[in-house]
């Protein structure tokens, strides 16, 4: 059976639904094609009762469907009703499997698809694009012919499927909505990522359900899951609530049974249900197969689009999360706009126009939004390759400001992770008091903060009346992933600047040309060594991202020598003093280093005595530490051990990537939990810290509390871009949080919780004298339920430590510790703490 429509819309999320509603309103023949048996699967899968947020608030909604913040159920019900009322044609349970043109070949339009295989090799396929109309092949065997296609399939992709005989049987499922649904079953969970573990624990949680749960792990490690989840799983297995089978894979599935390949050979076991949680494959391959090109090979890249969302396949439009706009409001507006465009409306201004206009309002001249976008694109070199649509998106995440001559743009030691582009004028970088280095129009600055996530290294002022674009970290990362030339340019500039800043010594960019040509950026896995003691080699390594520890073997033991944060360098000893490497340098977390060719560096040192002098000084300081440790090795071996062990413990606990961390000295902690109470009372009554939980070594306790990582994992995937680094280096979540929980899942240290603000408590004095309210600290669930405002639903949002930013006096946990056990330290300092602790005892 073949349908013929004007517009086929693939995916019924907010983007697709809004597009279909517009098509219905315009009376265009259309079909909304949805893989599942309900509308908007991503939102359908939110947890029950989730409060859905409607950010950004200043953006007006332009759609035939309504949307405002509220419960998931209310929104879905509303949409279902509106889709029916407005005459939207929906095909449910129909997954689009292929989209191909059935017109003539388009001359010169050839789609190259690069396929990466598991073994690392790649293969390039070439496909001749064909003109519209398009034929869409659906999984139910139907075909649909459409003049235009709107792709709105989101970014969820498809779960990775089991590939064994019987995997298509109905008791194999890829999702678990409610673990309470199943009773007295033999259930196998396949996959030991967080999702699999959480499902297994959920199924085994209530013994009364009587499920026999087994979780299968292909290897012996649980590398892809959070430590807390693994621990809980082990505890559950220990307690006999579920079984873990390692080095086991599935061989065959039959009704009632599963056959496994295990260490002891093949076993056939009773099995009523299989829950496969083996990750999901992003929809990219499918999208590419439709003739849609992506901006780069990067994992984070989005499809290449025109200002009206048209992809490289003419007549196929991409909108919504798949186009790089994860917020529901954006999705809905785009659905409306794209259908208007397809219907011939060329004058419609995008709904985000007022937001952009507001950004440009403060600039000296009056120009239209489109003109400003073009002005910035043409005048800032790294933006050159962006399309008008990309420029729009880019500016939504960025700011643009005018500065007068001598205005300070940022100060040395300010925290900041944004990048600045000079669209007009000049910036002056104060490298030493009274010594300014100019950076001219078209170039960028501030990139070190972006790369290494640390404080600004110098004060920058405007050298003339200027216009600067401030690019947020997110926007900069997007820019780099979608635009390879921009990435190369930023990397080269930042390497050059980092070297200039590190070595100072009167170097100029020209001096570095030779070194930069041979410089190479390398990613180093946690624990991997860049230098090994005894090796030959004279290259110099600059730590760009992450941090390293330096170790030396003394008497057969690895002794910790020092900690190197991003922005330091190693390798000078072998180069200056000759001989093999005297110590091993290992990454504490996944890091990036710049390798500089030793010979080129030696030539530079020969030409620049000041640089040689500087390197000699650093080397002497390091040799002192080595000598100190060596001299103590007999008399103080325990002290040295203690120091190394403590350092190792701290590094193992993620402190290598911390910028500020709460430690508790358990020689002093009396367990009063005043730190938790202070935390709760300083932040809307919710504590962001669990004192008792966490690791301890030699009485140094790392509680469950944010470490303000150099490269925060939580920031990685935040739809409203609500996580930032604040003025004191703190990583905080702002009020635009939509409560999706991505950050909580991404945090390896389990320090983010989802909760709603509890009701206000009566004051301290009324509690003390009249016993009113729950007293200091986080109120109990019971009190919260009793005192909640009836009928008012408070959204659950992500909360985490913000280092008490904006609270005078600093972190409340530390101020409120009666014995001085709680301290906050930067990694450079706590190793000193470890050492002092070691020597004092």
């Amino acid at each position: 059976m073949t349908d013929r429509v004007r517009i086929a819309i693939v995916g019924s999320g907010p983007a697709g639904l809004s597009a279909a509603a517009r098509a219905a309103a315009l009376g265009l023949s259309h079909l909304l094609i949805e893989k599942t048996d309900h509308l908007s699967d991503t939102i359908f899968k939110y947890q029950k009762g989730k409060h859905v947020m409607a950010t950004p608030s200043q953006l007006v909604l332009r759609s035939d469907c309504d949307f405002e913040a509220g419960k998931r159920e209310a929104i879905l019900d509303r949409w279902n009703a509106q889709a029916a009322d407005q005459g939207v044609n929906v095909a449910y349970n129909a997954e689009v499997k292929a989209i191909v043109g059935i017109g003539d070949p388009i001359p010169g339009s050839i789609q190259k698809i690069v396929e990466r295989r598991r073994d690392g090799t790649t293969e390039t396929k070439e496909i001749q694009r064909l003109a519209p109309p398009y034929r869409l092949t659906l999984s139910d065997g139907r075909d649909v012919i459409a003049d235009a296609v709107v792709m709105a399939i989101g970014t969820q992709g498809n779960p990775n499927l089991m590939r064994v005989p019987g995997a298509d049987l109905p008791h194999v499922q890829y999702q678990l909505d409610d673990p309470g649904e199943y009773n007295d079953e033999h259930i196998f969970v396949v996959g030991t990522g967080d999702a699999g573990i959480e499902n297994a624990l959920g199924l085994a949680a209530d013994e009364a359900q009587g499920n026999a749960v087994t979780i299968l792990n292909r290897s012996t490690e649980f590398a892809s899951a959070k430590a807390a989840n693994v621990k809980a799983l082990m505890a559950a297995a220990e307690a006999g609530r579920l079984a873990i089978m390692t080095e086991t894979t599935t061989a065959k599935v039959e009704p009632g049974f599963i056959t496994l390949d295990s260490r002891d050979g093949e076993v056939k076991l009773k099995c009523d249900r299989i829950i496969a949680r083996m990750g999901s494959a992003p929809p990219r391959a499918f999208v590419e197969s439709c003739g849609i090109e992506f901006t780069s090979g990067d994992r984070l890249a989005f499809p290449k689009l025109s200002p009206v969302f048209e992809s490289t396949a003419p007549g196929i439009f991409v909108i919504g999360a798949l186009a790089g706009y994860p917020l529901i409001k954006h999705c809905m507006n785009q659905g409306y706009d794209v259908v208007e465009y397809i219907n011939g409306n060329r004058d419609l201004k995008p709904a985000d126009e007022p937001i952009l206009a507001a950004k440009f309002a403060g600039l000296p001249e009056k120009k239209s939004v489109a003109d400003w976008l073009e002005y910035l694109r043409a005048n800032v070199a790294v933006l050159e390759g962006l399309s008008p649509l990309q420029m729009r998106e880019f500016m939504l995440d960025s700011e643009v400001r005018a500065y007068r001559r001598d205005d300070v743009i940022f100060e040395k030691f300010d925290p900041g992770s944004s990048l600045f582009g000079i669209a007009r004028g000049q910036a002056l970088v104060e490298v030493a008091p009274g010594v300014d280095i100019p950076i001219d129009q078209g170039s960028i600055f501030g990139e070190v903060g972006l790369i290494s996530g640390r404080r600004r290294g110098a004060t920058v002022r405007a050298g003339a009346d200027s216009i600067m674009v401030e690019v947020s970290r997110t926007a900069a990362l997007k820019l780099m992933s979608s635009n390879p030339p921009a990435k190369r340019a930023i990397t080269r500039i930042s390497t050059e600047r980092q070297l200039l800043q590190m070595f100072g010594a009167g170097l100029t960019p020209a001096d570095l040309a030779d070194i930069l040509d041979t410089a190479e950026i390398r990613t180093v896995k946690a624990g991997e060594a860049i230098l090994s003691e005894g090796d030959l080699g004279n290259d110099i390594y600059v730590i760009r991202v992450g941090s390293m520890i330096v170790e030396k073997k003394i008497g057969g033991k690895n002794v910790f020598l020092s900690y190197l944060p991003a922005g330091s360098y190693v390798g000078e000893m072998a180069l200056i003093a000759g001989g093999p490497r005297t110590a091993t340098v290992k990454a504490t977390v996944k890091s990036e280093v710049i390798r500089l060719n030793g010979d080129a560096f030696a030539r530079l040192m020969a030409a620049k005595p000041a640089l040689l002098e500087r390197a000699r000084r650093d080397m002497a300081a390091r040799q002192d530490v080595n000598a100190f440790i060596e001299s103590r090795k007999d008399s103080f071996s325990t002290v040295v051990d203690m120091y190394s062990e403590t350092a190792k413990f701290l590094v193992d606990n993620g402190i290598g990537e911390a910028t500020d961390v709460l430690l508790i000295d358990e020689h002093l902690c009396v367990g009063c939990d005043n730190c938790e109470k202070a935390c709760a009372d300083s932040h809307d009554g919710l504590s962001r810290l669990d004192r008792e939980a966490g690791r301890t070594y030699a009485h140094l306790h790392v509680p469950t509390s944010c470490r303000h990582c150099e490269h925060p994992h939580c920031m990685a995937d935040c739809p409203p871009n609500a996580i930032h680094r604040g003025p004191d280096g703190e990583v905080f979540i702002d009020e635009t949080c939509i409560g999706c929980g991505n950050c909580q899942r991404n945090c390896p240290y389990g320090v983010i919780r989802m909760d709603s603000v509890p009701p206000r408590k009566p004051g301290l004095l009324s509690w003390m004298f009249f016993g009113a309210g729950p007293g200091p600290g986080e109120p109990s669930k019971k009190w919260r339920a009793k005192n909640a405002e009836p009928g008012v639903e408070k959204p659950k949002k992500a909360i985490k430590c913000d280092m008490c930013s904006g609270i005078e006096g600093g972190p409340a946990c530390v101020r409120a510790c009666p014995t001085g056990a709680a301290i906050r330290v930067a990694p450079e300092d706590f190793l000193t703490v470890a050492r002092l602790g070691g020597e004092a005892r």
Binding site: V625, D665, G729, E808
Partner: protein
């Protein structure tokens, strides 16, 4: 060390990062309190009050006023501890001052009395003050010695995890007891139904639970297992091992609760005695002015 270009730390080098409340700021409050005591004793010696030193002389009034103000300020620690206001205060500094200035009261108040004690409300106030101070001394003794023990004992477990662990063992005991004879199962049930922390304050503080049902169940079951060699598949052996584990976990939990109780119990003397002291002090002051 590797001087990275952009040193992110603003903290001045050499600043002591970390010391406890007793050592706070190089024993600042110990020094101040000592100075106050020395000045008080010296002035007591130098000032000539006729016929002899007593609370009613101008010198006595001076000392008394200082004492009352100090006591009021010391009481305010309870408020400071809980008022999470903004600002550059540190509870550690407050505690440090509290301890040393509190101790200096021994000297100030004693000199205030001019060593004239008797059976009256004035001496009652003095005695209550000494009680508060003595309990405070006990407090700093436990604060100084027990935290390390608490930390060692809990071995990275939280109290909730310890309780969970006991519960998990209980579940296994319950399952493992199914094949047992009625008599044996009753012993296991005894352990399951026991409140392992019953026994009141004495048990809590001493950490000794002589009537622990788990210990008794194990001892009783050993009557059966004692004779037979371990074969590895007798359900009683499994029960025995589980009871052993439960006992170890209970011992840890009980030590944990004991240490926590010791760290807190003295406050149950310190604080109520403070309020009694405030009452007695009011009576003392009112009576002095009333009968003057």
């Amino acid at each position: 060390m590797a001087a990275g270009a952009a040193s992110p730390i603003r903290r001045a080098k050499g600043e002591v990062l970390h010391d406890g409340f007793l050592r706070h700021a190089g024993f600042r409050w110990l020094k101040i309190a000592t100075l106050i005591c020395v000045l008080s004793i010296a002035s007591y010696m130098l000032v000539d009050v006729t016929p002899r030193h007593n609370g009613g002389s101008w010198y006595g009034y001076a000392m008394g006023t200082i004492g009352v103000l100090l006591i009021l300020w010391l009481t305010l620690l309870g408020l400071r501890k809980r008022a999470m206001t903004r600002g550059r205060w540190s509870l550690k500094a407050w505690t440090s001052a509290h301890v040393y200035l509190g101790l200096s009261l021994i000297v100030i108040a004693t000199l205030h009395t001019g060593f004239q004690l008797g059976w009256n409300v004035h001496t009652l106030a003095y005695a209550l003050m000494m009680l508060v101070i003595l309990s405070g001394l006990f407090g700093i003794a436990v604060y100084a010695t027990l935290p390390a023990a608490l930390s060692n004992n809990r071995a990275e477990m939280t109290q909730v995890q310890m309780l969970d662990a006991v519960r998990a063992i209980d579940r296994q005991l319950h399952d493992a007891a199914q094949p047992l004879t009625h008599e044996q199962a009753a012993l296991v049930r005894q352990s399951l139904e026991d409140d392992p922390f019953g026994g009141g304050l004495i048990a809590r503080l001493s950490g000794r639970y002589p009537r622990c049902a788990t210990a008794r169940a194990q001892a009783a079951l050993r009557r059966w297992t004692g004779e037979t060699p371990d074969t590895g598949n007798d359900p009683l052996e499994r029960i025995d091992a589980l009871l052993e584990r439960k006992q170890a976990m209970l011992a840890r939990l009980r030590r944990h609760l004991k240490l926590k109780a010791l760290l807190e119990i003295w406050l149950y003397v310190h604080v109520p005695a403070t309020f009694a002291l405030l009452a007695a002090l009011t009576a003392h002051v009112v009576s002095v002015f009333f009968y003057w």
